[in-house]
Symmetry: C2
Subunit: 346 residues, 2 copies
DNA sequence: GCCAAAAATGTGTTCGAACACATTAAATAA
DNA sequence: TTATTTAATGTGTTCGAACACATTTTTGGC
């Protein structure tokens, strides 16, 4: 295998035919005689020809449309970095003819998700990127995409029965286990642990399972783990609820918050004058980082929302532009964040 | 700003000139009258023209050469993933006309580094990628690159007085601090800590500083931290040395190993029947992972050698191909690895 | 006002792949 | 055998930027 760049013209010359014939062989377009085919095929087998993706792309000269359907970052700050990741990738690939359009839905309103879904499918983009908060609606959307031959990519959380869609995110069960193993290093034998869901979304149950599984696997474990779901979105009601919960469970001193809202719990605990609680939460929101740096949150797990979004868009783009293959599921590492390394993740 | 793709031809038409004139304006090639310049300039200011990088690249049609000068992975397994990262990126960009050549040097022999250096510079590649283990020799190499207009990228460890070279790696001082903060969570008040250098390379001192700084910053800290350097490369001599060291410092129960050789220490400790020592080390070598999973290493810090290499090559490639800018220094996150999340980093 | 030199502007070709179209060779029917 | 369809093959153009080259316009000198 000689290291050189071969062109169609080269191959044609080597095989003693014209570039048109080589082209027909390469693309199985027929209208090639056996003799000609074999001459070309022989050369192709010798040289490991790889078409120049740049020339190919220039010729195609197509504008690829990727539509992103995401929760409105104004309504939940968790989605701000996701939005940034999409924008970054969009800018990077804009001059390559990749056109990214963003659509926001209200994360507290399934109807808004469905409405936007239909609009997007109707506009027939080349690919769709979404965070499937609502299971049923999301599955309907993905099915619809399949039917209309729209590529689909998913971030944040996996849906069950979901093959052949690009997924980029974390293994949420394992993420719960990581949280548990960190908790394990921090607590004493007689600590009681609470798993706190604040405005629970379905996939957070998976984190809870992982967390519990870790401790269940240890035969010596006699820990008490209580799971609690808080629904209040207003601060006041939430603080009262927390107070109530702690009165009923006075022994609890360690908390695992299953989403980005650990800072809310910290604030509530501070109001109740309950200090030195052990807290593990998710995501690098400004409030969380502040508490992490102050030692009021012990560990954060980084779900890399920005990277999820960036990677999805760039995988799709590079697939369209250069035919790059990508794995159907890409599980990102579960990053453990402390005061000391948080800086490098921002 | 209308969202459309403009070509030079479009601009020429809009400005009422020929594409040649537009080209001269875009590239400041002179030979343009004031009137023509202003006509073109006006259009350019209106439309935010970005040249099609694909077409540009096709026209250039140049083969870019990147030479990588790295320690032989056969002589130190730490460099295996670095090698993999280079290969992966090389394959990815091969069809774009990026030609990556690897050169290995003996990490225990500065002469072999110098010799290879000279060969590479003499062959005048477009860029050089290296891991600068030897300070003086590396600085000479980088200077030489500058003079010959060879781009240079560096991974693994930073050299001082090193501007305008692409660096991709971790902040080693901070990495020591991360190790310390993890140690802090694991130890008791009266534990004694040892910092262990096995076959020390100069930059490992930086990790030690970071580690010590963390504990110094705490006014309440009365910890004893001993630093020890082991030089033996053979197992037998090493175990004896460790034994000796422990006899002299019987109170030491926690170890921070500043490179990928934590597994050697674990083995030595096992031979001495010293169990439940606390150990924090670096890098996901197979041996380290085994001990991590068995609970004999508490934390590993992942230096992402593969990613460092991959990123360097792809940054250089994308710079050459598409004119992508890159930051002079890119500090990668300092990943904390436990039994629970190690799987996702492999 | 005319010619030569210089400046300004326009035209044409290239890169490699893709595909439309033109041309030639082989196969079939009259 | 000749006309005519069909198969096989070759040629030419396009994508957008870059640059070589050709052409036109302007300027200065007499």
């Amino acid at each position: 295998m000689i290291k050189e760049k071969y062109t169609i013209k080269d191959i044609a010359q080597m095989a003693g035919v014209s570039k048109g014939t080589v082209d027909r062989v390469l693309h199985n377009r027929g209208k090639v005689s056996k003799i000609a085919f074999e001459k070309v095929d022989k050369v192709l087998k010798e040289i490991d020809y790889r078409p120049n993706p740049i020339a190919r792309n220039l010729k195609r000269n197509k504008i690829y449309r990727i539509d992103a359907l995401l929760p409105d970052p104004k309504l939940d700050p968790y989605w701000i970095p996701v939005n940034e990741g999409v924008i970054e990738a969009a800018n990077e690939f804009a001059s390559f003819g990749i056109l990214v359009t963003k659509h926001f839905y209200n994360p507290n309103n399934r109807i808004s998700f469905s409405e936007q879904s239909q609009k997007i499918v109707a506009s027939k983009p080349d690919a769709l990127l979404t965070a499937p908060i609502y299971r049923k609606e999301s599955q309907a959307l993905l099915k619809s995409c399949c039917e209309h031959h729209i590529m689909s990519a998913i971030i944040n959380n996996l849906l069950d029965s979901m093959d052949r869609h690009l997924f980029i995110g974390q293994d949420l069960n394992q993420s719960g286990r990581v949280a548990a193993s960190l908790m394990d290093k921090l607590i004493d034998r007689n600590d009681h642990i609470a798993i706190i869901h604040i405005n629970r979304e379905p996939h957070m149950k998976v984190k809870e399972s992982g967390f519990k599984d870790y401790f269940m696997a240890r035969p010596d474990s006699k820990l008490t783990i209580t799971s609690k779901k808080f629904n209040s979105t207003e601060k006041k009601g939430f603080a009262t609820d927390v107070s109530q919960f702690l009165e009923n469970n006075p022994k609890i001193s360690a908390f695992f918050v299953t989403n980005s809202k650990a800072h809310m719990l910290v604030e509530a605990l501070l109001e109740l004058n309950k200090k030195d609680a052990i807290i593990i939460g998710y995501d690098l929101l400004a409030e969380n980082i502040t508490f992490l740096r102050e030692g009021k949150i012990n560990f954060l797990i980084h779900q890399k929302p920005k990277r999820q979004a960036y990677l999805s868009v760039s995988h799709l783009a590079e697939h369209f532009l250069f035919g790059k293959p990508f794995p159907p599921q890409e599980f990102l590492p579960i990053d453990i964040i402390t005061t000391e390394n948080v800086h490098y993740y921002l």
